[in-house]
């Protein structure tokens, strides 16, 4: 019976014929009869001791790997990046080197989330990894889980890349910023349900007795799952549709603890959010990509709560202002109505008196003409008119008979008269 092992890791599941774990498995098949290690060793020597008990290459490299992995704990190593290659299988391969030596390195795809950006050749970095043997090439390999570049170069690089991509899509444009509702009723808070941020926000709202409902949408704010959870929470808020403002953020922490808020996916989810957003990540000095995309950036979660809500005092002041405005405006309206009425009355009076004046003038003109035609005016100047009894005017000597009686009309009456002699014609 042959016994093949491709990996020592599967060994535990198989019956252990040696009774103890051997360091080497011999290439010579174990005879079914050789039930004991001692018997085997007597016949063949220790595994690898003789040509007959030679071990496989796999055995050698696997054993070397076990020895090396057992000898080295995870360790930070400083060096310069060279020959960097992002393989299409998603893993990163490169060398870390100093003047005298180099070691082949790998960063598995699944570990890359802890590293802000792929390192560039020539970067001085410290890398945390485990030393191992890559069996299929028989090479020593440093398997890296974290990289910190001098001067925080990787984070700066990652920020620049993300920022440039968001900018290219117009997501950082100031015109995109929406006004926050002045009096939000329901504020969704995307943060850790146990974090300081939520505590700070609720404390502010209680103190101000703001008239709002706070709806917590829990999400991890640090760690591998944080970006996804933050995105999911924002998506939930949109699907729910009950919030009129979103605060997303967390309290202060180490730079890498805030890193999820620099994630491009989170930034895009914030930009896509249908209700206005306030980003409040860490302390005053921490500015995240999320801050740049949100409609408003608050320096801290407490400040976000203050920005988002009005206090009772503010609301009272607002009402007092409106009340004063409405009263004053109503008063002004009443005044202007009264003014208009007064003007109207004056206009009517003025118009009617104009009318009277013009009628009077007219009348006087007519009267003047009549007057001129009337004998009354002539009489007034001292003339008189002789009139027969029947009223005909006696205006020539021929009209007068001998001793005829007639009337003289003078300025202030009529005088009976009689012809006393013969009329004389003018010369």
């Amino acid at each position: 019976m042959t016994r093949r092992r491709t990996s020592r890791r599967t060994e535990a599941a198989e019956p252990d014929l040696f009774g103890t774990t051997p360091i080497f498995e011999p290439t010579v098949p174990l005879e079914p009869t050789a039930a004991y290690v001692s018997e085997y060793i007597e016949t063949n020597g220790y595994p690898g001791e003789t040509a007959r008990s030679a071990v496989t290459v796999s055995m050698l490299t696997e054993t070397a790997r076990d020895v090396i992995e057992g000898a080295f704990v995870p360790i930070w190593v400083r060096g310069e990046i060279s020959d960097f290659k992002a393989h299409r299988n998603g893993h990163w391969y490169f060398c870390l080197r100093d003047r005298a030596a180099q070691i082949k390195c790998v960063v598995w795809n699944r570990d890359q989330f802890r590293i802000p950006a792929a390192p560039d050749n020539g970067m001085q970095v410290a890398a945390l990894g485990r030393l191992t043997i890559y069996a299929s090439r028989g090479e020593m390999q440093f398997t890296i889980a974290r990289i910190e570049a001098d001067g925080d170069g990787l984070r700066r690089k990652a920020l620049e890349i993300t920022r440039a991509r968001l900018e290219a899509d117009g997501l950082l444009a100031l015109e995109r910023k929406r006004d926050l509702p002045r009096f939000p009723r329901v504020i969704a808070v995307v943060t850790s349900p146990d974090g300081a941020a939520l505590h700070d926000i609720t404390a502010v709202l209680r103190r101000r007795a703001a008239n709002v409902r706070l709806v917590v949408v829990p999400a991890a704010v640090q760690g591998q799952s944080a970006p996804e959870e933050l995105c999911f929470a924002l998506d939930q808020i949109d699907r729910w549709g009950g919030a009129d403002l979103v605060i997303i953020g967390r309290g202060g922490g180490a730079h890498e603890d805030l890193w999820a808020f620099n994630d491009e996916r989170v930034a895009r989810a914030v930009a896509a959010c249908r209700v206005p957003t306030i980003s409040a990540v860490g302390h005053e000095i921490d500015i995240s990509i999320c801050d740049l995309v949100a409609d408003h950036r608050a320096p801290t979660p407490s400040a976000a709560a203050e920005t988002a809500t009005r206090s009772q005092d503010e609301l009272r002041r607002e009402l007092a202002r409106l009340s004063a405005h409405i009263v004053a405006a109503t008063r002004a309206n009443i005044r202007s109505s009264a003014d208009r009425l007064r003007h109207l009355a004056r206009d009517v009076a003025a118009a009617s008196s104009d009318h009277v004046v013009s009628r009077r003038t007219q009348l006087e003109a007519v009267a003047g003409r009549l007057h001129a035609l009337s004998p009354v005016a002539t009489l007034a100047r001292g003339y008189s008119v002789a009139r027969a009894k029947n009223g005909t005017t006696l205006d020539s000597i021929g009209a007068f008979g001998e001793k005829m009686t007639f009337e003289l009309v003078v300025r202030d009456g009529v005088v009976p008269a009689k012809v006393s002699g013969a009329p004389r014609a003018n010369q």
Binding site: R182, N211, L214, V217, R316, L322, V327, T330, N333, I334
Partner: protein, 71 residues
Amino acid sequence: MTTFEQRLARLEEIAAELDGEQLDLSRALELFEEGIENLRAASEDVARAEARVQRLVEKADGTFELDESDD
């Protein structure tokens, strides 16, 4: 139900209309009365104000409910 914000918006509208030129006196008085009524209701809202904290819970069928938070 009229929200506080709607009331404030209405009050702003009323103030703006009252500021307008050549308003009928009867219209002005009507607006004034509506304004006073809104101010009274809004003041009551302010007095009642209290912050509530709830938690958004998505159920299996994709609907949402709000749980009262303990803290």
